[in-house]
C-alpha cells in the first residue's frame, strides 16, 4: 500500500513538472509535452491503495477522470500508461485516449471522463462474473460530486436487485471543481445512500489507508462470496486545483492549507514506523518508487509520436468495407461542365 501511494504521489509530481513545461508565460492548456486537461489525485492515494490491495488482475476497476492513483494501485502497465499520457504511439491506446481514458484490458482497468459513467460498466462486469459463476468482483470509483448522477443511483439499484459482486467506492474530497459538498448535497455522509437500496453503506472518515484497507476487505470479501454490492465512501482530500491550471479562487486558503497538512502518506509512514518498520526500510520503498517513476517517464518521453494516419484506425474492430474517409472527393456537381 505504501509503495502504491508513494509511487502515485511522485508520479504525479513528475507529470506536473512535465505538464507545466512550455505552458508559460500565459498558461496555455494546449501547449507543451502533455496538452489537454490533467487531473491530479494528490491527497486521494489512500482510497485507491487500500481498496486495490484486495483485487486480482481478473477483477475489474472503472475509474473516473482522476485515474492515475487508481491505475497504479490496480497494476496498470505504468510504462504504457505514461506513454499514453504523453500521447505516444506505444501508449495504452496508441495516443487515442490520453489521461482520462486509460484502458488496460490485461488488468481489467478502464476509465471515463463523464461523471459517474464508470458505474454501469462495473455493474456489467459484475453481471458477467455472476453469470459465469466466477468469483471476480468489480469496483467503480467515483467522486462525491458524482453521487447525484442518475448513472450512479441506477447502478446501485441494479447491482442490489441482481445481488452483483460490485463495490462502489466514493472518494469524498469535499469539492466538485468549485462546488463545495454542502452546495450539492444535503446529506453529509454519502454512504447513507446505500440504505435506500438495501445494501451496506460504510464510510471511512479520515484518509487513513489502513482503515480503508480494513473496510474494503469486508466489502470486497462480501462481493466475492456472492453476497452482493457495498457502497464504501472514503474521506480523502484535494491538495491541488481541480485540474492543472485551476486558479482555485473559489477556495478558502484555510481549506487548501488544511488539505496540505493532512497527508495520508506521512500518516501511513508514521504508522509503519510505529509498527516497528525501520526508517531505512521506509526510505528504501520511497527510493525504489522514485527510481521506477523517473525511469518510466524518461522512457515514455523517448517514445515516438503516433502516425497522424493512425487517427483513422480503431473506430471498429471489424471495419466495414467502404467506410467514409476524409479523402477529398473532388466531385463535380452540376451540369455546366
Amino acid at each position: 500500500m505504501f509503495e502504491d501511494m508513494v509511487t502515485a504521489r511522485y508520479y504525479e509530481e513528475r507529470l506536473q513538472e512535465e505538464y507545466l513545461e512550455g505552458k508559460q508565460p500565459a498558461f496555455d492548456i494546449s501547449a507543451g509535452p502533455i496538452p489537454g486537461e490533467l487531473h491530479l489525485a494528490a491527497g486521494h492515494e489512500a482510497a485507491a491503495a487500500g481498496v486495490c490491495r484486495h483485487l486480482r488482475d481478473d477483477d475489474t476497476v472503472t475509474a473516473p477522470h482522476r485515474p492515475h492513483h487508481v491505475a497504479i494501485a490496480k497494476g496498470v502497465d505504468l510504462k504504457r500508461m505514461t506513454a499514453e499520457i504523453f500521447g505516444r504511439q506505444t501508449g495504452l491506446s496508441g495516443g487515442k485516449g490520453g489521461h482520462m481514458h486509460l484502458f488496460d484490458p490485461d488488468v481489467n482497468f478502464a476509465c471515463s471522463g463523464i461523471i459517474a459513467e464508470g458505474c454501469p460498466p462495473a455493474v456489467g462486469a459484475g453481471l458477467a462474473a455472476k453469470k459465469r459463476n466466477e468469483d471476480s468482483v468489480a469496483v467503480a470509483v467515483l467522486g462525491e460530486g458524482a453521487i447525484s448522477q442518475g448513472a450512479f443511483l441506477e447502478s446501485l439499484n441494479l447491482a442490489a436487485v441482481q445481488e452483483l459482486p460490485v463495490v462502489f467506492v466514493v472518494e469524498d474530497n469535499d469539492w466538485a471543481i468549485s462546488m463545495p459538498k454542502d452546495r450539492i448535497t444535503d446529506v453529509d455522509d454519502g454512504s447513507l445512500r446505500a440504505g435506500g437500496f438495501d445494501m451496506p453503506g460504510v464510510r471511512v472518515d479520515y484518509d487513513d489507508a489502513t482503515a480503508v484497507y480494513d473496510a474494503a476487505k469486508d466489502a470486497i470479501g462480501r462481493a466475492r462470496a456472492g453476497n452482493g454490492p457495498t457502497l464504501l465512501e472514503v474521506q480523502v482530500h484535494r491538495r491541488m486545483g481541480h485540474f492543472m491550471g485551476d486558479p482555485q479562487s473559489y477556495r478558502p486558503d484555510e481549506d487548501t492549507e488544511a488539505a496540505q497538512e493532512r497527508d495520508s502518506i506521512e500518516r501511513l509512514a508514521d504508522d509503519l514506523r510505529e509498527a516497528g518498520v525501520e526508517d531505512d526500510d521506509v526510505e528504501a520503498i520511497r527510493e525504489r518508487a522514485h527510481d521506477r517513476v523517473d525511469e518510466v517517464i524518461e522512457w515514455a518521453k523517448d517514445q515516438p509520436e503516433p502516425d497522424p494516419e493512425a487517427a483513422h484506425e480503431d473506430v471498429f474492430v471489424n471495419p466495414p468495407s467502404g467506410v467514409t474517409t476524409d479523402e477529398p472527393t473532388h466531385e463535380l456537381a452540376g451540369s455546366d461542365d
Binding site: G36, G91, G94, S178, E305, A311, H312, T324, D336
Partner: protein, 341 residues
Amino acid sequence: MAQQESQAVERELTMSRAMVEAIAHEMRENDEVFYMGEDVADYGGIFDSTEGLREEFGYDRVMDVPISETAYIGAAVGAAQAGMRPIAELMFVDFFGVCMDQIYNQMAKNTYMSGGNVSVPMVLTTAVGGTYNDAGQHSQTLYGTFAHLPGMKVVVPSTAYDAKGLMHNAIRDDDPVVYMFHKRLMGIGWMPAPDGPKTPVPDEPYTIPFGSADVKREGSDVTVVTLGLHVHQALEAAETLAEDGIDAEVIDLRTLVPLDTETILESIGKTGRLVVVDEDYRSYGVTAEIVASAAEERLADLDAVERVAVPDVPLPYARPMEDEVIPDVEDIEAAVRAVEP
C-alpha cells in the same frame, strides 16, 4: 454622454464578456431570467460564460447545481413551461448523453406535442470544440446533432459582437434555443483565442435576428460557408488565397436553425463554387445539409463542391492525430484550390 457612447463602441470585448453582458442585461430587466449550471456561481463558468454574474445577482439567480444534468436541465424545461426564462448550461456539449432525454424529448418536443399550447422559453448554453488535445469525450463540436433534431433553435456565434446580439435574442425567444459557444473563441485565460473574435461591442442591448448569416468577407471566386472557430480559419485562408488571386467569399452561418439558405444561394449565384467547412463529423452533418440545400435549389449554378469536416472518427488525444482530423487553415485552402478550375 455622447462622448461616453462613442468611447463605448470603440471598446473591444472578448466573446465571453459579450455573452455575459447580454445575460446580465436581460437578468436586470426581467426577474424571470436565471442561470443554472455546474461551477457557474463562484467559478464564473469553466469557460467564463457567467463571469461576475453571481457577484451581481447572488446564488438564487446564478445557481450552482449538483452534477445531475438530467435533473437540472429538465428543471429548466419545467420552469420555462411555468413561464420563467431559465438559462441552463451543459458544461461541455459532449456530456449531452447523460441528459439527452430532457433536451430532445422534453425541451425540444413539448411545444409540438402540445399542439402549440406549451412554450419552452429557455436557453441551453454549451461549450463545443477541440484543438487542445482533450480527447473523445471533451472535444466534440456536435453542431449537427442538435441541428438535426427538430424543435430547438441552434445558435453558434463566432465574434463578440455576434455573441451579444444573438444572446439577447436567445433569451427573449419564446422557443428553446441551444447556444453553442466555441471554447477557443471565448478569450479565456488558459486557452488563447485567435484575434478575430474580440471585436468592438456597443454598450446598449441589440439583437441579431436568427436565420441571418453574415458575409464576413466578400469575394467572387468561391463561396466558403462555415461557422464557429472555422470562420476565423476560413478568413485566414482567404487572405492567403487572395495573394494567389483567388477571391473567396466567407459566410458565417451564425445560426443553424433557422438556416439562412438565401445568403448561401445568392453567393453561389455569384461564385458557382462551394466549400463547406465544419468542425463536426462529416457524415450526416452540416456540410451535407448545406451541399444538399444548394443542390436542391441551385444545381445549375454549381460548378464544384468540397466538404471539409472531421472524418467519422472520435476525436483522438495525441496532437498529430488531432491535427490530422480537425480541419485547419491549410485544409480550407486546399479545398478552395480543389474547386478552382
